[in-house]
């Protein structure tokens, strides 16, 4: 067997080398320049009536994810509000490709719009393009697909808003004086680093001159490590006035440490968290205010954007505006992005209205 196997291996090796020597199709030779924003076609008539009886399909990252369920539920309710129908379909795992067969199915069902939170910006691209070529409006929400493969992206909140508003919260809660620290996720997390850079920028404003950022610690979005980092921060800076954790893992771990330490009531914990994680810490007084975008409004806005697109009120061009029901006017930004707006602040008065 060995001789024959060796022969085969050798033959294949020759083939491989031959192909390599002849050059061929490489990444460099195929670099394309189609990275532009969504291509808006046709012109928009802002006064066009919102069409009724549209079929809107929500395709979340995965079904049975509480955050996604709230978001899609509200989107479906909004569809009903405007006389259309909405539904949620999707895979039970959030893997890169499992959404693709759902997109194909939705194309077959001739839905009017597909609203998708993409698991992989590229894996869903081909099928979404096919959907767009069949006049199906494609709106991404929460997690974007590659830009040429969708009409609009509903961004939960602009990075700038998220960064700056957390400093505003911290200033409010500390009275604008004292040392503050940031407990982030990993040192190279894109989201968090963008937000932190806006935080630093916000802190330069004169009204925050009493606040002093002493350290950015990294808990790696690991509960245990975030807990230890909080402990470390408070040992190093016993007079710390606030910890801002722009990550849901970090804020929960920080709140847990503070709630059971002598620092409870002395140090403010704020940042981005989910109501379910933070409820007990809000109730026991460790946390007064924290924020996150409201998934309900995100689903609601996505429905209005899709319906407006399908009704010809907007075409996806930058600068076009439309009315999104109770949320009011929204404007399409660069690359077909629509920003939901400033994050929602959660306190003990409203936290029980949210379950995710």
């Amino acid at each position: 067997m060995t001789q024959r196997t060796l022969g085969v291996v050798a033959a294949v090796a020759v083939l491989v080398l031959g192909a390599a020597a002849c050059g061929g199709t490489t990444k460099q030779s195929t670099q394309k320049s189609d990275q532009g924003g969504a291509k808006a076609t046709g012109s928009a008539n802002p006064d066009a009536p919102l069409k009724k009886d549209l079929k809107l399909a929500f395709l979340p990252k995965q079904v049975n994810n509480p955050y996604m369920t709230i978001l899609d539920g509200q989107g479906i309710a909004a569809a009903k509000e405007i006389g259309s129908t909405g539904k949620e379909v999707g895979p039970s795992d959030a893997s890169a490709s499992s959404q693709v067969s759902y997109i194909n199915t939705l194309i077959q069902q001739r839905q009017d719009a597909i609203l998708i939170a993409a698991n992989d910006p590229n894996a869903v691209c081909g099928p979404l393009k096919r959907a767009m070529s069949r006049e199906i409006a494609v709106v991404t929400y929460d997690s974007d697909a590659a830009k040429p493969c969708r009409d609009l992206f509903i961004n939960q909140a602009g990075s700038e808003d998220i960064g700056r508003s957390q400093v505003r919260l911290a200033a409010q809660l500390t009275g604008g004086k004292g040392k503050i620290a940031v407990l982030s996720a990993t040192a190279n997390a894109t989201n968090q680093n963008t937000w932190i850079s806006y935080m630093k920028d916000e802190l330069k404003k004169p009204q925050y001159k009493g606040l002093q950022l002493v350290k950015v610690a990294y808990g790696d979005d690991d509960d245990q490590k975030s807990f230890q980092q909080t402990q470390g921060l408070l040992q190093a800076y016993p007079d710390l006035k606030a910890i801002i954790a722009p990550t849901t893992v970090g804020i929960a771990a920080a709140a847990r440490y503070v709630s059971s330490s002598k620092y409870q009531g002395k140090v403010v914990v704020t940042g981005l968290g989910t109501p379910n994680q933070m409820r007990e810490f809000v109730k026991d007084g460790t946390v007064t205010k924290f924020e996150l975008w409201d998934p309900k409004n995100l689903g609601y806005l996505a429905t209005y954007a899709a319906a407006s697109l399908k009704s010809g009120r907007i075409s996806g061009k930058r600068g076009e505006t439309f009315t999104a029901g109770k949320l009011g006017k929204r404007t399409i930004g660069a690359d077909g992005e629509i920003i939901l707006g400033p994050p929602t602040v959660f306190t003990k008065d409203n936290i029980d209205d949210y379950h995710f």
């Binding site: 067997m1 990444k27 195929t30 670099q31 890169a96 490709s97 067969s101 759902y102 081909g126």
Partner: protein, 348 residues
């Protein structure tokens, strides 16, 4: 004596005439497949369109391709659980090399060879060290998936050449048959001939039915099994290329868990998990029924939980039915002493 009976019972492609043939699970599966198609065409206008069939078939590309070597393995009473991980490794390697500026024409043969090496490792561990393939391939399943993560981490590589992506995703013009499925049809025909019309095929059935008897009959059991594992690795790696190009995304977690879908398709197709029984036609029907049923359920907006339950039930029924049928047959044959089980002799 007992071994003798078993070999005779599990002879390849038993020729059964008349109503007995209807009890064969692969025939039942073919009938079920037709039923699904009729139900699909009857209940929704979106099912029996060229477009939809092309999507549904395209979705099956990797499962269908890997099901071929998997059928041979299961018939020979072995199994390879590492196929999806080899697929993932192949995808990750393709992505890493593509990022490094290699030509796709070089990368594809290379990853296929690496896949064959992965299969060779499985095969050597099973045949030379005599370890059970279930255990070996559970191990290499994690090992190869781990290697994929070492190569690519959680990154995704995209932007593969359009011509190749089209080849992996598009249907042959004028037909609902995607290119990978056309390749599958070709390979399935070859596999069917090898399995059902050659000495090698008969050797596989013999090995699956009774390994020792096959060995003493002069069949080179270890060598054939080694080749089967190499083949499974090779095809899985090629399926990884198809997968990556089809979705335009190379990731280490690609096709996570696909091995179970492949094995389900093989078992639904009526191949006995203990080896020695099965037909390739049944497996083709099994692959199609799983894919088309899923597609139909999705078109009818049936939730993903119900979809998996339906597939699970189908799998159980497919394993159960031949057992029940065998019982029924045994009961009928009771008066014939040579074929009846020893306990059955007591009443006489």
């Amino acid at each position: 004596m007992a071994a003798d009976t078993r070999v005779r019972e599990t002879a390849p492609v038993p020729v059964r005439q008349g109503p007995a043939a209807l009890l064969r699970w692969d025939v039942i599966v073919a009938v079920l497949l037709v039923a699904v198609c009729v139900a699909g065409a009857g209940t929704t206008g979106d099912f029996a369109t060229a477009d939809n069939l092309a999507f549904a078939l395209d979705d099956l590309s990797e499962i269908a391709l890997i099901a071929l070597p998997m059928t041979l393995l299961v018939v020979a009473a072995e199994v390879d659980l590492s196929v999806a991980s080899v697929l993932g490794l192949s995808s990750a390697l393709l992505g890493a090399l593509w990022n490094a500026g290699w030509a796709i024409e070089t990368i594809i043969p290379l990853v296929v060879v690496i896949g064959a090496v992965c299969g060779l490792v499985n095969g050597l561990l099973v045949t030379r060290l005599g370890l059970p393939s279930l255990a070996v391939t559970i191990g290499t399943m994690t090992l190869y998936r781990g290697l994929a993560y070492v190569l690519l981490g959680t990154n995704a590589v995209s932007e593969f050449p359009q011509a190749y992506a089209d080849l992996a995703a598009d249907a042959i013009p004028g037909t609902p048959i995607p290119y990978p499925i056309a390749l599958f049809v070709l390979l399935a025909a070859v596999t069917a001939i090898v399995l059902h019309a050659t000495g090698i095929g008969r050797a596989l059935f013999a090995m699956g039915a009774n390994r020792e008897a096959a060995f003493f009959a002069g069949i080179r059991v270890k060598r054939i099994k080694l080749l089967l594992f190499v083949l499974a690795g090779l095809v899985s790696a090629f399926a990884g290329v198809v997968y990556t190009l089809r979705y335009g995304s190379a990731r280490a977690d690609n096709a996570y868990g696909l091995e179970l879908a492949v094995i389900a398709a093989v078992l639904v197709g009526g191949v006995d998990f203990n080896g020695g029984k099965g037909t390739l036609g049944g497996v083709v029907a099994g692959v199609l029924i799983i894919g088309l049923l899923r597609n139909l359920l999705m078109l009818r907006d049936v939730s993903t939980e119900i979809q998996s339950m339906v597939t699970g039930l189908l799998l159980i029924v497919s394993v159960l039915t031949p057992q029940v049928a065998a019982r029924v047959r045994d009961l009928r044959r009771r008066p014939v002493p040579s074929e009846a089980p020893i306990e059955a002799k007591e009443p006489t």
